[in-house]
Each structure stands twice: as structure tokens, then as C-alpha cells.
């Protein structure tokens, strides 16, 4: 009897995987059809893109460019997260600070990534410093506002309850603030990783001599569509993998939540 339960669980798993793969299979089908109709240099056949993507992963001299770009994304987001966290706490504590920082951050939000590239080249000499600056400054407004809204959404009832036990600041943060805001923090990382992975290739135009953005430019000069796709796919994989990790963290952190048997 355990067998049949295990079997149905496996078949459910298989079904899930098939559901996830279906849209990609459709995309691949369309691409494949186009590749039979159009010249290879415009729409290269799928298997060639696949082998090129694989070649990047297995060859460390290429894969290190993927790692460099991933590192830039994470460094930029980490920086923006820390500074945004400080801004959010300050804005949450004081109306004055919010009136001051809010408009500035909003203003920053309207500046295109490419403008930051230009500013970074003028202001900084060191390539990695330029990239870090761009990554931080483009993610900062979103992180600040998201963390602020998470702080605002904290339950006043629970805050008073915890305060009634007279906690130290550190305990207040660990026992109440962190668990309260964690859901929105994870969501903000999810959103910002997606954004940052699109910004990073632009940021790498500041003169980087390695990284996915640099490799993409190279493919453009070589007029190599399969290569361009293969490098693009690396970034897409990176986003998918990090989202999957965030999902796992979420599932672990929110096991306390009630589950409705019926969904909306």
C-alpha cells in the first residue's frame, strides 16, 4: 500500500515537471520551426545553442565570466540591501528623515541604468568600483521602500506585546522585527535579483574585461547569434536558480503558516 502512495507521489512529481516544462517546450518548438525556415546566423538551430551553453558551463575559462557577473549581482544587491535597510529604519523612525530621503530615492528611481553607467565612468576609475556603484544605486530605492513598507506593516498589537516584556533592542529585532518583515524581505530579493540581472549587463559596459555583458558584446562583434543566446541563457539560469533557493528558504521559514485547502 505504501508502494501505490509512493507511485502516485512520483507520478504527481512527473506531472509537475511536465507542467513546468510545457511552455519552454512550446517556445523551443517555435524556435526550432523558425530555425528551419530562416538562415542559421539569424536563428541558429536549438542543438547548437544547447551545446554552446553547455560548453560555457563546463569550460572554467568561460564559466568564470558567469561567476564574475553573478558575484557582481550579489555584491550590488547586498550593498543596496544593507544601505536600504538603514535608510528604511531611519525613515520608519522619523517623519523628517522620510520627508527628506523619500523624494531623493524616488528621483533616483527615475534615472535609467545607462545614465548611471555614464556617471560611473566619469566618477570612478576602478572598473569593479564602477559596476558596484551602478548595481547598488539602481537597487537602492526599491530595497529602501520595500523594507520600509515591511516595517510599517508590522502589527502594532504584537509590537506592544513584545515591548511589555521590556526587551533589549537586539531581542526586539530578533524576536519580532526580523520574523515579521522576513516575508517581504524575501519577496524584495526575488524582485530585485530579476532586475539586477538585467541591469548588470548594462553595468558591465563600463569597460569590464570579463562577465556576461562583456561576452555578449563579443558575440555581437562576431555576429554570433548562438553564442549570444548561450550567454543570455547563463543569466536566465542564474535567476532561476536563485529564485529556487529563495523558494526553499520561504518554504522553510513559513512552515508555521496556515494552509487553506482551497486556493483563491
Amino acid at each position: 500500500m505504501g508502494d501505490s502512495a509512493a507511485q502516485s507521489a512520483t507520478s504527481k512529481g512527473v506531472q509537475r515537471i511536465l507542467t513546468i516544462l510545457a511552455p519552454f517546450a512550446l517556445l523551443a518548438g517555435i524556435w526550432h520551426f523558425a530555425s528551419t525556415q530562416l538562415p542559421d546566423y539569424l536563428v541558429p538551430p536549438l542543438d547548437r545553442v544547447f551545446w554552446r551553453a553547455l560548453a560555457i558551463i563546463v569550460d572554467f575559462s568561460l564559466f568564470k565570466d558567469v561567476l564574475a557577473t553573478a558575484g557582481r549581482i550579489m555584491a550590488g544587491l547586498a550593498g543596496a540591501f544593507v544601505i536600504g535597510g538603514v535608510f528604511a529604519v531611519l525613515m520608519h523612525k522619523s517623519r523628517r528623515v522620510e520627508d527628506f530621503l523619500g523624494p531623493i530615492l524616488n528621483f533616483f528611481q527615475g534615472i535609467p541604468a545607462l545614465s548611471w553607467v555614464v556617471f560611473a565612468i566619469i566618477w570612478f576609475k576602478h572598473i569593479e568600483a564602477r559596476i558596484l556603484f551602478i548595481m547598488v544605486v539602481t537597487a537602492l530605492p526599491a530595497f529602501s521602500f520595500q523594507i520600509l513598507s515591511a516595517l510599517r506593516a508590522m502589527s502594532k498589537d504584537l509590537v506592544e506585546m513584545v515591548l511589555s516584556f521590556r526587551p533589549t533592542r537586539a531581542k526586539m529585532f530578533r524576536m519580532l522585527v526580523l520574523p515579521s518583515i522576513l516575508p517581504e524581505i524575501l519577496t524584495s530579493w526575488r524582485v530585485n535579483i530579476g532586475n539586477a540581472s538585467r541591469v548588470v549587463v548594462v553595468a558591465e559596459l563600463v569597460g569590464a574585461t570579463g562577465g556576461v555583458g562583456y561576452r555578449l558584446l563579443e558575440q555581437q562583434q562576431l555576429f554570433d547569434m548562438a553564442g549570444a543566446l548561450a550567454w543570455t541563457l547563463q543569466l536566465v539560469f542564474f535567476v532561476l536558480i536563485t529564485q529556487k533557493i529563495l523558494n526553499l528558504i520561504e518554504a522553510w521559514a513559513f512552515k508555521y503558516r496556515a494552509q487553506s485547502e482551497r486556493s483563491l
Binding site: 498589537d157 506585546m161 511589555s164 516584556f165 521590556r166 531581542k171 520574523p179 508555521y256
Partner: protein, 251 residues
Amino acid sequence: MSVAEVHFSKVSKFFGAFCAVEELTLDIEKGDMVAILGKTGCGKSTMFNMIAGLQDPTSGGVRVQGHDPFREFDWFRGKIAIVFQNDRLLPWRTAVQNVELGLEMLDRPAAERREKAMSWLTRLGLAGHENDYPHALSGGMRQRVSIARAFATDASILLCDEPFSALDEITANRLREEFATLVRQNHKTAVFITHSINEALSIGQRVIVLRRPARIALDERLPDKLTSDGAEALRQRIQGILSEEDRVVIS
């Protein structure tokens, strides 16, 4: 005579121009169980929050065990325990972890915390539910957990703001009796806020009726054995005060 456990001298609290508590003077002795009765909106919670140190009076002085509960934040750690109107459990903590909260604030070792929390959960009839998350418990069970949380730190002062008003009558009656027994057994000073006359008479050794804005309209110590006639007479008097209040508001 010793200093009063809770002391209000000419305490007023304004929200903008609105007066919620007006020149309230009041002493509560150690070991007393005081029921504070008044209509919704008469300033009971405001008074409660000032004892708890969550709000600062606009004028006048509040002293609890001779200290200022609003200013001396750290001094009161472990000295006041509160049962709120709603359970206010942390949803990400299991029942037993919720009960341990106050003990964690006091840096008690993990083994001691767990043992104390478990013994309080057991006394409140929740053995077997210690690892349940709040969402899996009924309203009555959740309020029991929050009572266990308040008792677990062994604070000498217990404040309760209408703790059973969100529960159904049968659950509330049973919990009220258990609660009164626990308070007496553990020699607590308890301030119990309620808008129900019956609850005030069944739980208080002293009953204070507040008018709006919070001022004392009646302050009566109940005899150890309240006869049903005596209770009825007192109920009539309180009823009279509260309905007079209505007329004042209307006129």
C-alpha cells in the same frame, strides 16, 4: 503602611484636545485583585497602558512599585505581566515557544525555560498542544497560551485588559474561574479591566467603576463571601451609575 504597588496621583491623559483620563488618583495595594469597570471608550485601556508603561501621562504621576513605568524601561523587565484582550501570540512560534518569550527576555537557560513553559501549559490544560502553531489552536486555547505566557515569568503584577471578552460565554466563564484561582494561588497583584458587571463582581476583591473621561465613580471593597443579595444590590448600584452616564452623554 507600605507604599502602594500601583499609585496614580492626579493623572490626566489627553489625545490632542480630547481628554481620556481626568485627574485620576488611585492606590492599589500589593496582593489585591482589582476589577476596573467602565463602558467602552471611558479610558480603561488608556489607564491600563499607563500602568504598563506603554503610554506616558500628559500630567500627574504614575508609580508602580515606586518607579516610573514609562521612563524606567529596563527596571520593569520581568516585573509586570500582561494579558491582552486578544491573544497576541507570535504566529511563527509554537505554543510552548510563545510561553517562553518572557523567560527569554530574562535570559533564563533554555532547559529551565522549556520546563517552566511546559508546566504552565499543562496547568492551563494544553499539554499535547505545545508544538502547535497558533493558527492550529481555537480562540480559547490561544488565550490560555497567552495567560500561560503572562504567568511564566512570575511577575508580581498582572495586568489584564478584557482578556475574555473575545471568547464565547462558556469558555470565558471557565477560563475566568481558572484565572482567579491562579492569581490567588500565586499571590499576584492583579488589575483586571472589564466592561462586564458580572465579570467584575466574580473576579474582583475590590471593584472600581470609571466614568467618562476616566474618573472614579465608585470604589468598593467586596466582602470575602459576597451574598447573592449583596451582589444584587451592588449590581443595581453599578447599573445605576453606568446608565446615569448615558443620560449625561445624551443631554
